[in-house]
Every structure is written in structure tokens, then in C-alpha cells.
Amino acid sequence: MSSLNPLHAGGFRVDSLSPASDAAAAAARAGDADAASWLAAGADGASGSLHVSAHDAGLTLDRIEREFLAALCADPAR
């Protein structure tokens, strides 16, 4: 399990922050700056070409969702 993004380490999400907190607002701004970097990170982080894999009979909607979220998110089951 990889570590959490420090910008999210408090367990909150950027869009639910209260504007009353300066610290929270600062964290939100930093997180927003991160979001822009994700656009290129996707392509830069993919190594080599992306192909269609051979068909897997065990492929289900639930499994794909679970694996996709596990690849991006720290704890998709929460």
C-alpha cells in the first residue's frame, strides 16, 4: 500500500473544505495545483504502449472498477 498524498492525509476531500479555515483553504489551493499535474502524469506515468489485453473470462464490472480504483486511490474499499 502506498502512502497517502500528503494533501489528503487529513482524510478530507478538497471540495468539502470549509472556507472558514485558512489552513484548509491553503491545502485546497495546493491540492488544486496538483490536479492540473494529473493531466500529464497519466501519459508520462504510462510505460510503453497501451494495448487491448487478451480476453479474460473472469473480467467483471466489479473487478474492473475495483482494480482501477486500487491503481489510483489509496484505499478504494473505504
Partner: protein
């Protein structure tokens, strides 16, 4: 595992595995057996990530647009086409023009598909810091290239962009953004072979110059 509204928002890894995420998306779009399942997959991923992480889904789509083989791109573009046909395009929330909050429950929030979300994010930044001009240029080319791999998807998406450009009442897009989207749609509709053409049309409408002109006159925006 299906996302429920009561689930806490997911947290992005410090080092997401973008390649694996893109591979699962491609394989899901290629191998799920029905259109309904493929559309549901895109919706589930959107819902599970939430609005705060919607740009991460854009990053995955950009990865497929840049790194995907033709077959892989067509699988994902085909699922997007199915979403377009059923009115269920994977969408992220953007605050209405002039609003200052990205809270999904805020009354001024509207949902936009990948291309128009990216354009609105760049052209009318709200809370979220927008991508730089080169980052936007690259990402938009990737998305347009991905959608263009399935000709019907490109044509339907052009219609969608024109509809967004012609809708001043939703309040989501400023007039300048809508004008630029219209120019993008016109250029993209005319030629789907070179994504740089519609991207330049968008830049030209928004800034009065293409990316090269921005490099010359607005270096601060290019960082």
C-alpha cells in the same frame, strides 16, 4: 464493489499507477459484453472518484489518447460514444461562471464531459488552479485524438460541444469560453485527423493567438 453516496471520498495515491488504471479502463471497454455495462463502468468510475478526483480520470483518458494503440483507443472511444448516445457521458462538476465553489452540492455546479470540462477549467479557472497553456494544449490534443479514433464519437461530440456553446442559460460557461468551444467544434468537425487544428482554433478564439503566439506574448501563463 459499487460506489455508494455514503462512501468517504477516495484519496489519490502519492504515486498512482497510471499505466494500470489505463489498462483496466481499456480492457473494460474492450471486453465487457454489453453497451450498458460499458456505460455503467464509466459512470461508476466517475462516481467513485468524485469531482475532486475527476481530473485524475482525465489523466487516464489522456494516457490512452497518447499511449494507446489504435485498437485500445477505439475501445475507449466506443464506450464514450455509447455514453454520448445514451446521455451518460462521464462528467465532472464545475462551478457556474462567477461562482467560487467546487462543492458538488453547490447550486451553481454543473456537470461537464471530458473535453468541455478541460476547456472550462483552462478558460475560466475557479478554485482549482488551471493547467498551464502547454499542459492544456497537450491534454486537449490527447482527448481529441482519443475521441477521433471512432468517427461517430467525434461527430457526436462535436454536436455536444456546439450545444454547450449555444446554451447561455446554464450559466456554466462564460461567453468567451462558449465562443472558443464553438470554434473548436467547427474545426474538429471539419478535420478529425489532426487534433492540433481544433486546439489552435480554441486558443485563437480565446486569446487571439495560438499556443506559439502565447509563448511569445504571455510567458507567465506558460509556466
Amino acid at each position: 464493489m459499487q460506489f455508494r453516496l455514503s462512501d468517504p471520498a477516495p484519496l489519490l495515491r502519492t504515486q498512482p499507477d497510471w499505466h494500470a488504471a489505463a489498462q483496466w479502463l481499456i480492457d473494460g471497454c474492450a471486453h465487457l459484453s454489453t453497451s450498458a455495462q460499458r456505460v455503467e463502468l464509466l459512470e461508476r468510475l466517475c462516481n467513485a472518484l468524485g469531482d475532486a478526483l475527476y481530473p485524475a480520470l482525465l489523466g487516464v483518458l489522456c494516457a490512452v489518447g497518447e499511449r494507446g494503440t489504435r485498437q485500445a483507443q477505439q475501445a475507449v472511444a466506443g464506450a464514450l460514444l455509447e455514453g454520448l448516445c445514451s446521455g451518460r457521458v462521464p462528467s465532472g462538476g464545475r462551478p457556474a461562471w462567477g461562482a467560487s465553489s467546487l462543492r458538488p452540492e453547490a447550486p451553481g455546479t454543473r456537470r461537464l464531459g471530458p473535453v468541455e470540462y478541460l476547456c472550462a477549467w483552462y478558460a475560466q479557472p475557479a478554485d482549482a488552479a488551471p493547467p498551464s497553456a502547454p499542459a492544456f494544449d497537450r491534454a486537449l490534443r490527447s482527448l481529441l485524438g482519443l475521441v477521433s479514433s471512432a468517427e461517430p464519437a467525434r461527430m457526436l461530440y462535436c454536436d455536444r460541444l456546439r450545444a454547450a456553446a449555444d446554451d447561455p442559460l446554464s450559466g456554466t460557461l462564460a461567453r468567451g469560453t462558449r465562443d472558443a468551444l464553438r470554434r473548436l467544434a467547427e474545426a474538429w468537425d471539419s478535420d478529425g485527423t489532426n487534433p492540433q487544428v481544433p486546439v489552435d482554433a480554441f486558443f485563437q478564439a480565446l486569446h487571439g493567438s495560438g499556443l506559439q503566439g502565447l509563448r511569445q506574448w504571455q510567458p507567465a501563463r506558460l509556466r
